[in-house]
Each structure stands twice: as C-alpha cells, then as structure tokens.
Amino acid sequence: MIHSLFLVNSSGDIFLEKHWKSVVSRSVCDYFFEAQERASEPENVPPVIPTPHHYLISVLRHRIYFVAVIQSEVPPLFVIEFLHRVVDTFQDYFGVCTEAAIKDNVVVVYELLEEMLDNGFPLATESNILKELIKPPTILRTVVNTITGSTNVGEQLPTGQLSVVPWRRTGVKYTNNEAYFDVVEEIDAIIDKSGSTITAEIQGVIDACVKLTGMPDLTLSFMNPRLLDDVSFHPCVRFKRWEAERILSFIPPDGNFRLLSYHVSSQNLVAIPVYVKHNITFREGSSQGRFELTLGPKQTMGKGVEAVLVNSQLPRGVLNTNLNPSQGTYTFDPVTKLLTWDVGKINPQKLPSLKGSMSLQAGASKPDENPTINIQFKIQQSALSGLKVNRLDMYGEKYKPFKGIKYMTKAGKFQVRT
C-alpha cells in the first residue's frame, strides 16, 4: 500500500523520509515539486499526482506536505485519511506538528511510523495504543531515561491491541476523575449582497476530555436528539444503542478525543448570529474607492459575540487602504492584498465599523467584483442549534467523577458576498 513517505517543507526541501518497502529514490518527489511550482497557492497542489512508475498522494498540514508514494491501486482516501492520522498523532505527541518539532524528535517519529505501518498497511493508529508502545517525550522522562537507562519503548503488547476496546488502555489511574465535554458548533454560511442567506448549515462536534480511572462506561443523553440529522461516531460509541434509544453509550478512550460529529438537519432554519452592512465601491476612472463595513449582532440568544475577526481579499488593483476602525485593529498587506480587522467583542450599543478609502492603481480599470468578506466569531455558552445535553451517567466505577459540559458556537466558513 504505502511505499514511502516524504515530508516536504514550504520551501521545497525534503526533511524526512521513511520507507516501508524497498527504498524509493527521493527524485520521485521532483514530480511533486513540478506540481507545486505550477500551483498558484500551496493549497492548489493536486492531492493525487500520477508519475510514470508511482503515484504521489499528498496532504498539506501545518505548512508541511506529507507525500506518500504509492505503487499500485489503493483507495486514495485510505492514504489521505492515514496521513491525516499521522499528523494528528504527531500533534498529540509533540504538541505541535512543525518541521522543528519533527526534527527534534526524529527518533520518536521514526519509531511511531514504524509502529503505525507494517509493509505499508496500517498496524496501530489508535493514540492510546501507540502511547503504550512509545511513550510521548516529556522533559522529565528524557532526564529520567538518561539516568536510569530505561526507554520510551514498551515491552509488552498493549492490551488494547487485542481487545474489542482497542481505543482504551488499561490500568488508567487518576486522583481527580473528570470528564469534560465541549459541544462546539460551527455555522457555515454564504450571505449574498443584499444580506439574505444563500446557504447556511450547522455542523457540530462533541470533543471530550475524559480522565477517569479504570474502565468507566458512560452514557450521554440529549434533551433533543432529533436535531441531529447525520452523525459520525468515534468507534467507541455503541451504534445499536444510538439507533434504538438515541443515547450515546460508550467506554471512552483515555484523554482527548472526538466523540461525535453531527450535522443539524437543514430543515431547521439556521439563525444567523451576525449581520454585516457594507458599502464597498470603486468608481470608474477615479483612483479612490470607498470602503464601509458595520457589524452587528442578530439572533444571538442574548449571548455576546466575541473574538470577531474579519478578513477580506481585496482586488488586485487596490494599492493601499486608509481606514478607520471604531474599535479593534486593522491591517492591510499591500502584497497579498489581504485586509484583516480584529474586531474583538461586538457591543450591541455601539456597533463596530470600519470606514475609509482605498487607493487604487492609477489608470487601471475598476475591478469587476467586490471582495468577499470572511468573518470569524465565537459565541460562548450557547449552541446555535439549541442542542442540549440532558445528562451524563457513569457506570462501572464506584467514584463520583467531576463532569462538565461547555457549549460554544463558532463561525465556520462564514462568507458575505458584497
């Protein structure tokens, strides 16, 4: 399946290679570099590149290309999903997945890759199992290991590997038993010029951080499970129970994991929490353009809209901007033409606005299209769809865990066309 893996940084250097079968020369990456040159943006490199003898399947994350070399037919998603899982694992182990972090921990990276694939076929990808095989590096452990000569590598087959709950390691112990659940909803929307919604949908996830001793068996029930239209589960969730009772019943993995992703049925009308008033004009023949933007809250269920960030890719003809924000700070990069306005919190009494002029290239004709405005925001303590967790129960263990549930709404791909 996966023959080799090359890690390529943004400047086009291969800084790590790993082969699971015979060695494939790194010159195979030349095809990738060609494609990279042709692409205008780093994101535009096609994920699948056929070469005369191999196929290159790549993912781009944290500005690192993970290029897998394939020799024969394999579902491309299989490879892509696996590569993303590799990145997730690195992030889990090192906190960040950067070139520097990978180079610093090259031995652990190698050991991990060795365990994750055998002959190109995934062997162990569950983080709980990997952590038993190879302990994540911490400063303390490194010091201890150098002194005592003990290693980061486990000597026993992790018990999870053979069990039906491979995602959980055994013998977990905590002094403080706690289970936190974050219900995070993202609203994706496209708003047209006139302010009417073209499309809007809510996608949510429940991320969990469970630190419980032993083998707890949790059930999580919702007040309104019918809201959830389409769901995908962590393998720990018992599907039959969900089908029958709409209750999430599971033995959680240890640590952080994504319990559930869901889609709120599109029949429910999505309340758009912010509105944008805009007036962006370019006059023909003049080298000036007007730029006016006002943001305001709308249907936020009484919660404040925070961490608002506006960015917009202005047309190429714009040389510079001279804008005046009523709050927050704005920056304009004259090279990439990216306008960013960090608004912060929206005060409903005094709506934030950004007004001023843009100077255009002299003599150039007026741009045909007004820029699209991308908005990011957060609303704490509220899930936009109205999803509510009813209760969380634990069975299988005697102690009383500390339980917490947090709700948050975020903007996903929230675009306003102007």
Binding site: E17, P47, I57, V74, L77, Y110, T170, G214, H263
Partner: protein
C-alpha cells in the same frame, strides 16, 4: 558461529557515559567527516546508553536520507541487545540497509529465529516483521517457514503480522505463490477481527483471482465487519464488492425491465408485451447479498472517511437503485473534512451525479463555491452543480454562476463559463438566456473570461445558428481586441462557417486577418486559411485576391501543418487540370453541415472504474487495479457459502442471561471464562481485573446477540476473553463463566472461612449455562476448593435450573386503553438489590397511537420497595418493549400493587408471586446440605408423604418438576432415590432445603427445612400438588 563472536553489550549506565556523550556530540558538530567513526566507536562501546545514543543519531541520518550503510557491521552486532529501544532502532536500520548488505544481514537471522519462539507475543511479532522485511533472497525458505508457523500462533497479533509477511514474501519471490495461498487460505478461516483485514489485504495482493477461497468465509467476514479495525474494513469492503459482483445477480434488473416496459407500452403491440412479461422472473435478492448490504450500512457513520467512501461505493455498485441514496448524506458530510478528502469525495460525487441527479439534488447548496476553496475544489463543485442542473433549479444555479463569473480567480471564472455553456445545451429552456449572458461577458475586461465566452458561444451557436447573426457580428468586432488565440480562432471559424449570414462583414474580417497573418498563432493561421477558403467558395468576387494572398503566405509558413493545409486548400478550391474530380465537391466538403459538439461532463465515462479507487481519481487504469466484473446472468451456486454449523446456536441467550443476571451488586474483582469448542480443541482461559456494574447490562439484555454480549460484559476486564467468546460464540458447545466477588454482606458466615485462605475477602460465585446444569464448575472453582484446608461450606448462587415460560397478565389491553403488559419471573438474582426479586415486564402497545412516558407511579403497601424501570419515552403502535424491574416481596406472597402510568392514564396493577419464585437457586455439596439440614430441625422442618405419578419417579422429570415449582438448585446426590434441592429466600437469604425421597410403590416423602416455616409449608403444599399430578 558468526554470532558466537559477537559481543553483547553489558548492562549498566554511568554518569561518566553521559558526559562522554555530550562531549562527543559537541565534537562531531565541528568535525563532520569523522562523524561515522565516532558513531562506530560508540556502537562498539560497552555502555548501552552510548550505543543507544549512537543508534538515535544513525536513525536521524536515515531520516534525512543520508547514507549510513558503512556502519552496518557495527550496528548489526547489537541486534540481540536486551535494551528494547536499542533493538528496535537496530531493526529500523536493518530493514533499511539489509538489501544492500545481504551477506552481513545474514548475521542477524539466527537472532530472529530465536525471537520467533519468544514467549512474549510482541517480540515474536516484531521478529517476524523484521525477518520478513529483510529483502534478501537467500532467506526465503526461512521466511516461508516462519510465516507458516506464525499463521498458527496462539496470538492473533502474531497471526496478523504473518498476514503482512505473506505480502512481503510474495513481492520478494512471486514463485512462492502456491505455498502462500495455502497460508492465506488458513488465515482466512481465522475468526479474529484483528487478522481479518490483514489477510484480506494479502489475498488481494497475492491471489485476487482465487475468489473461491472467499465462499466459505463470506458470511463470517460480513458478520465480523463492524468489529474489524477501520483500515481492515476498507480492504474487506472493496474485496466483498468485487466478490458480490461475481456471485449475485443484478438487483437493478427489475427496474430496468420496468422502464423498458412502460416505454414499450406506447408503441408496441400488446402481444409482444405479454410475451415479455412471461419472461420476467421476479427478482429476489440472495440473502447473502442482503447480508452484505445490511452489515455495511452502520459503517456509514464511521469517523474514518475512507470507510464511509468504501461503503458508499459498495452501495453504488451493489445495492438496488432505490437504496443507493442512503449514502448521500454521509458523502455530503465528508465534504466538511480536509481539503484532500473533499477533492476525492467530490470527484466521486461528480461521477455519481451524472447518472443519479436525484441523489444529490436536495444537497445542492452544499456544493456552492466559497471564495476560500482551492481551485481544484472549485472546479469540481462547478462540475457537480452543472450535473445537477435541471429545469426546476436552473435559475438558482445560474444566479449562483453569475457570482462565480465575477470571481477574482480567473481560471475558475473561465470554468464557470464552460459550465454555463453546458447548462445551456442540456436545458433548452435557458439556452437563450445563457447565450445573452455570455454575450454580455464578451465586454468583460478580463481576457480569459472573454476568450472562454467566445469559445462557449461558438459551441452554442453551432448547435442552433439560425437567428444569431447579430451575435456573430458582435464577435467579429471583438476580433480587434481579443488576443487569446483560441478565441480568435473560434471567431474566425464562426464567421467562416456562417459567412453567408454576415456577407458584408466576413470579407472585411478576412482583410484584417490577411494583414496580421504573419504574426498570428498557428491555430489562428489555420482558421484564417479556412475562412479564406470558405469565402472564396461563397463570395469569390470580393475575396479572390485576398484568398490568394493568404494562400501564398501560408505556402511559405514555417509550420508544416499550415503549409500542408494551404496546399490542400489550394488544390481543392482553385480548379486546375491536376485537381481532378475533387474540386467539384469543394463546396460540399468545406461547407458541409457540421454536427454540433456535445458539451458533456469530463466525468461522463469515469464510471467504468470502480468508485473510490485510485484509477477513478486519475482516470486511467492504475497498476494493480482489479476490474469489477459485470453481474452474472445466472447466479452461481449459492450453497458454496454454506458453512457446516457445528452446533445449534441455542447458546446465546443462556450465556447472556447468565452473565447479566449473575452479576452481584458488588463489582466482581476477578473474572474467569473458559470455553470449550468441540471442533477446535482449544480452551481459552484467561483472567482480568476490573470492575463493573449492572445497569447497562440490563438494557442490553433485551437483545441477545453476540456483539451485545461483547459490549456489555466487556466493561473493563476479561476483554480478550469475551472478545473471543463473542467471535466464537456459535461454535462453542459450552461456555462457563465464573467470577469472584468481594465481600457480600449477607453471607458473613461463609466469608469468614474463605478469608482464612487469604483470598482477599472473596466469595466464589459460579455460573453455568442452565441447560447443562450437570457440568461441574470450571477449573478455577475446583482449584480454589482444592486450596481449602477444611470442609468449608460454600454456598453459591447459581443460575436457575428452570425458568418458567409462563407469563402472567399484568394489564389487559382493554383496561389499559391499548397498553398491554405481561410479567414473568426471571428467577435471576436481581441486578439492583440482592434482596429483590427480578421481574420482567413486557409492554405492548396495541392501540393505534403512540404511548408516551410509560413509568411506574404510586405503589402500595406504602413501604413496598420497587426498583422501577427507566421511563419509556414512547412506544409506537404495535411495538413492544421488555423491561425488567426488581421487587422486594419481603419473603411473603403478598401481592405488590403499583400503578403503571402513561402520559395520560394511570392503571392499578398487581404482581402476585408464587412462593417458589421468592427463592434463589443455590448449589452446594451433599455434605454441606446435610450440615445445613442438621441445623434446621424441629420447628423448621415440615414433611409430607405423597403418592407420585409413575413418570415422576425417575430423577430427570422429578428434578424438572421441582425446579419448575420453586427456584432451587439441584444438589448432587449419592443416593439414587433421594433428590436434594437447595435455595435461599431472596429477601432474608434464609436457606431452603428440599429433600424428596422415593420409597417403594411410588410413595415419596417430601421434606422441607427452612427457617421461614410459613414459606416452607406453602411450598410443601405446592410441591405435593405438582408431584402428584400426571
């Protein structure tokens, strides 16, 4: 011999070594040429920490792609190191360089051979992994042997590794194929979910054509699928897709035939139609086909996008047409994932949406383009939107397209114009609107947009040129400004083709082109020559000279094509003696009506590849692509998939009940299972430590399936065991489960003595499947008994010897306004509290509306303790649900009255226990029985003599009769004519002993010893009746 001379490193690390390392590191920074010597020195040092440090740096070199092969001899010496991390790093090195240094690599082989016999499964597995990864042809026989051995290893993990090794060996030496197939065949039979994915992968790689190997394993694979790890699922699903296409008949036939029929009905005679009808046999889906579809469906909810995609393609290729659409939602969900995932999924949706618009039309808005999408994502979304366009939604789509055309991403804007063109040809209603829109775009400032519009307009006009001469005129004007050659060429072609519609403009255009001919692109030159030729034929008066001028220019052009074309055209249109007959037809050749180009999707014929494959993505056949065969016209023999069932599957419910109900309320700390399977002579013992409660079990108890068993019991401990039990359940003849629970308060007496044995305050509880009560408790129990120094009285609550099928009416459907309820005593120890009696209630909704919130309300007498079932949110009409509850009868037969409430109503109901239901069966030895009996004399004893019927004189029916009457366990008896039974009361735990002694001439003496004399006499009365009955 070689290995003998290898020095193994000494254990032990000192601080001196540590400082030395740091020193070395600093040194080698400055002097890199000698670096490898340093490393060699470190590897040859006795200090493990130095060696490890050296290996880490070597791995760093390998990772950077630097050559470290010269260190091979120094590294390979450490292959037998005791330090596991060092060893692993040496493995990494070996696998990387063994191919280059084959002779030296052989040094390490014997170490691996030894490790293959290691008791630690991880070491066995990793030895096999490395051994099989060393690509040295000499060791092929050794590898083969190791694979064969590992394939029958105890540990499924090692077996999984052997499946991987098969592929490695095959790629090293394809001649081994036949032997490897044998191993694959063996591993395919493996029932472990861990092995399934890997062996199917090996199958696909080595012998995908041997579909016959799958037959016997097909059903097993389908059933295991949900529990296989996610990567294995992908491989198995795609293999099963291929398999199903060779083994089942098409489920599409029926609707296909139906369509034909409805068409035919219009214009063919009835006679023919009836003949057709008789030919059609009703299609019934093979149950195995259905099984596959059913078992893959839950995987659509997987978090792994590859799994979701593979299920989607399975449904696409195998499911009846009307079922395919269930995958839509899941595919659309994947669009939220990473960019690369989106790319692949959109490609597949593009192919699907050509054939099945309806599937994705409701999700049209999910394909709207965002300005932040990557270009290839944008064009795929555009493609899909175009495919989805129909009369109903075209206006929405066109409005959306209008926004895209203005995009700053000009490549995307150009793509949109093409899409508009396709919509215009596909949907005739909007052709004019689109054409007008495109004409407006001709005045766009961006050249690529204009050029693309010209090209698309050309195609559209060609389709219907009748009334569009003004558009052609407009385009002719554009020729002055447009520089994109494709667009210029298109305009020239258009004018040439329709020169008779624009008779005034055409010659003028030719004049302009003649002027700039030399500086044009080749493609424009060719079209200029064409235009000249066509004008010469239609309007030779005005253009004769111009044409000759252009042909002369073309004659001396640098490009072969243009020179050729010029020569050809000249011969064709300018008649001379040499041109012969052909020039007569020049007009018909050049101005022949040309078929309009069909604007169609680039994904039109992608469906020749299996969806989700690499070949589909790159639209060429990738190496190793396995063709999906067409459905067979006649289904091959179905019986090949039949597997001899070794034993009837009656075992499940009993095991489950045993497990569910014998969980005492304090969590067991020790658990033991042993399973015996007659066909596979394996005993799978094992143990685990953990804890558990019963709440969840009860819910699961409703459906007794192996996978439920797995889920509910597996909480924490005995994972491996129960996992095996669930996998093997259908082949076991008997499964014995026992566990030790910590201190149970009401059995203090027993407790004390057990604790003498220092068994950590343990009481032993043993559970056996109730249909084979004569099987003695498992080895653990006997072991523990063997440990006991004195005659310890052990009393164990066991499973009921008999569970009466009879259920009693709790609530009649008439009185309950549609809600009917029945109750049954399960005779299992109650999960909630040990002194309660567990009652199972089945509720049925016989009304025609849904009943909501069924729960238990007020109860009487006031002190009655009931463990209620959880409120049932709703019950659909005709649905029924079984719940269990616990009632504390307080060792009396007084009925428990309570109210059963729905949202609207309340019904008073009562449960009346028979005295026999208030006991719990207990197993004890005859010895203990006598001892207990001795304590319960006088007032505590009651007896009666009866005449038993003839059939009750033998032990089997007698035992059954007694067990049916009261929940008591059989005590093994040394005498044939004396039968003993033991139980205890549920509430107070008082011992109940029943003795039935058969005398001559069918007389029998029943003796009952118990502290609860009232219950004793009631039971005696019932027993008398029962045994005297025929």
């Amino acid at each position: 011999v070689w290995l003998d001379c290898l020095v193994e490193g000494e254990d032990g690390v000192g601080f001196a070594g540590l400082t030395f390392v740091s020193l070395l590191t600093s040194v080698d920074m400055s002097s890199s040429p000698t670096r490898n010597d340093d490393l060699k020195e470190m590897l040859e040092n006795n200090k493990e920490s130095l060696k490890l440090e050296a290996m880490k740096r070597i791995v760093g070199l390998i990772a950077k792609g630097k050559n470290a092969s010269e260190l091979f001899p120094a590294v390979v010496k450490n292959v037998a190191s005791k330090n596991i991390e060092l060893k692993k790093l040496v493995y990494v090195y070996l696998v990387r360089y063994a191919e280059e240094q084959q002779d030296l690599a052989l040094l390490s082989i014997s170490t691996f051979q030894r490790a293959l016999k290691d008791p630690n499964q991880l070491i066995r597995a990793s030895a096999l992994r490395v051994l099989s990864s060393i690509r040295v042809p000499i060791i092929i026989p050794i590898m083969m042997l190791a694979i064969k051995e590992a394939a029958s290893d105890m540990s499924p993990y090692v077996r999984k590794t052997s499946a991987h090794a098969i592929q490695k060996l095959y790629s090293l030496d394809p001649d081994q194929k036949e032997h490897l197939i044998e191993v694959i065949e063996k591993l395919l039979k493996d029932k472990s979910t861990l092995v399934a994915g890997s062996v199917v992968m090996a199958f696909e790689e080595v012998c995908p054509e041997r579909i016959d190997l799958i037959h016997k394993n097909y059903r097993k694979l389908c059933n295991l699928l949900v529990d296989v790890e996610e990567w294995g699922q992908v491989v198995i699903i795609s293999m099963l897709t291929r398999y199903a296409r060779t083994q089942f008949t098409s489920p599409w036939r029926e609707d296909g035939v139906f369509d034909e029929n409805s068409e035919r009905a219009f214009y063919e005679s009835d006679e023919e139609k009836t003949r057709d009808d008789t030919e059609i046999k009703p299609y019934t889906m093979d149950p195995d086909h259905r099984l596959l579809l059913r078992n893959t469906k839950p995987l659509l909810q997987s978090r792994n996008t590859a799994v979701v995609m593979s299920v989607a393609q399975l449904y696409w290729h195998l499911a009846p047409r009307n079922e395919v659409s269930i995958v839509t939602k899941s595919l659309v969900r994947l669009l939220r994932s990473h960019r690369e995932v989106q790319y692949i999924v959109l490609q597949n949706i593009a192919t699907m949406s050509i054939q099945r618009k309806g599937m994705f039309e409701p999700y049209m808005k999910s394909f709207y383009v965002r300005s932040t999408d990557a270009t290839h994502i944008k064009s795929l979304k555009l493609e899909i939107l175009t495919n989805l366009a129909n009369e109903a939604n075209i206006s929405t789509i066109l409005r959306e397209f209008q926004t895209y055309v203005k995009s700053q991403d000009k490549q995307f804007a150009a793509g949109t114009i093409q899409a508009i063109g396709r919509c215009a040809t596909n949907i005739s209603e909007v052709t004019d609107t689109c054409l007008n829109g495109l004409v407006l775009l001709l005045s766009n400032r961006d050249e690529t947009v204009v050029a693309e519009s010209v090209v698309v307009i050309k195609k559209l006009l060609q389709a219907q040129p009748s009334q569009h001469s003004d558009i052609i005129k407009h385009m002719a004007k554009l020729l002055d400004n447009i520089t994109v050659s494709m667009a210029r060429a298109s305009i020239l072609w258009l004018i040439g083709e329709y020169c008779e519609r624009v008779p005034k403009i055409a010659p003028d255009v030719l004049r302009k082109m003649a002027k700039s001919f030399t500086s044009e692109e080749d493609i424009v030159k060719l079209q200029t020559v064409n235009l000249a030729a066509k004008l010469y034929l239609t309007n030779s008066k005005q253009t004769k000279l111009l044409t000759q001028y252009i042909l002369n220019l073309g004659k001396y052009d640098q490009n072969y094509d243009i020179r050729d074309r010029t020569r050809f055209i000249r011969q064709l249109i300018v008649p001379n003696e040499k041109s012969g007959a052909l020039s007569k037809y020049a007009r018909r050749i050049l101005l022949a009506p040309k078929p309009a180009p069909v604007l169609e999707s680039a994904y039109k014929d992608r469906d020749r590849y299996q969806l989700g494959t690499l070949s589909h993505t790159i639209n060429t056949k990738a190496s190793g692509y396995l063709e999906l065969s067409d459905w067979p016209a006649v289904a091959p023999d179905q019986s090949v998939r039949n597997v001899e069932v070794i034993e009837p599957v009656r075992i499940h419910p009993s095991i489950c009940t045993a497990l569910f109900h014998f969980c005492p309320d304090s969590p067991p700390s020790f658990f033991h299972i042993s399973c015996y399977c007659p066909s596979l002579p394996v005993l799978l013992p094992g143990e685990g430590v953990g804890s558990i409660t019963g709440e969840d079990w009860e819910v699961q108890a409703k459906t007794y399936s192996p996978s439920d068993l797995r889920h509910c019991v597996d909480i924490g401990f005995v994972k491996q065991l129960l996992f095996r039990v669930s996998g093997y359940l259908h082949v076991f003849r008997s499964v014995t489960v026992s566990y030790v629970v910590p201190f149970v308060p009401q059995e203090v007496k027993l407790q004390k003595e057990v604790s003498l044995l220092d068994l950590d305050d343990c009481e032993l509880t043993d559970v056996k499947p109730w249909f084979c009560p004569s099987v003695l408790s498992p080895s653990l129990l006997t072991d523990l008994e063997g440990l006991s120094l004195s005659n310890i009285s052990t009393m164990q609550v066991s499973g009921p010897a008999f569970v009466p099928e009879k259920s009693h009416n709790l609530l009649h459907r008439m009185t309950g306004k549609g809600l009917a309820a029945q109750y049954q005593f399960t005779r299992q120890p109650c999960l909630y509290q040990p002194n309660m009696v567990s009652v199972q209630i089945s509720l049925t909704n016989t009304s025609d509306h849904r009943l909501e919130q069924i729960h238990i309300g007020e109860r009487s007498p006031a002190g009655l303790k009931i463990h209620c079932f959880n409120t049932i949110e709703f019950l659909e009409p005709d649905a029924s649900v079984t719940v269990s509850m616990g009632i504390d009868f307080n060792d009396s037969t007084q009925a428990a009255n309570f109210q059963l409430c729905t949202k609207e109503d309340q019904f008073s109901v009562s449960i009346q226990p028979a005295v026999g239901d208030l006991f719990l069966a207990v197993t004890m030895t005859e010895q203990d029985f006598r001892k207990e009996q001795g304590k319960l004399q006088g007032m505590n004893e009651c007896s009666a003599t009866i005449t038993v019927t003839a059939e009750n004189t033998s032990s089997q029916p007698l035992n059954r009769r007694v067990a049916a009457m009261a929940n008591v366990g059989v005590v093994p008896s040394g005498q044939d004519n004396v039968h003993r039974f033991a139980g205890k009361t549920a509430c107070s735990g008082a011992v109940l002993l029943v003795t039935v002694e058969l005398r001559e001439s069918s007389a029998a003496v029943i003796t009952i010893n118990t502290e609860k004399s009232v219950m004793g006499s009631m039971l005696l009365r019932d027993l008398k009746k029962s045994l005297a009955q025929a």
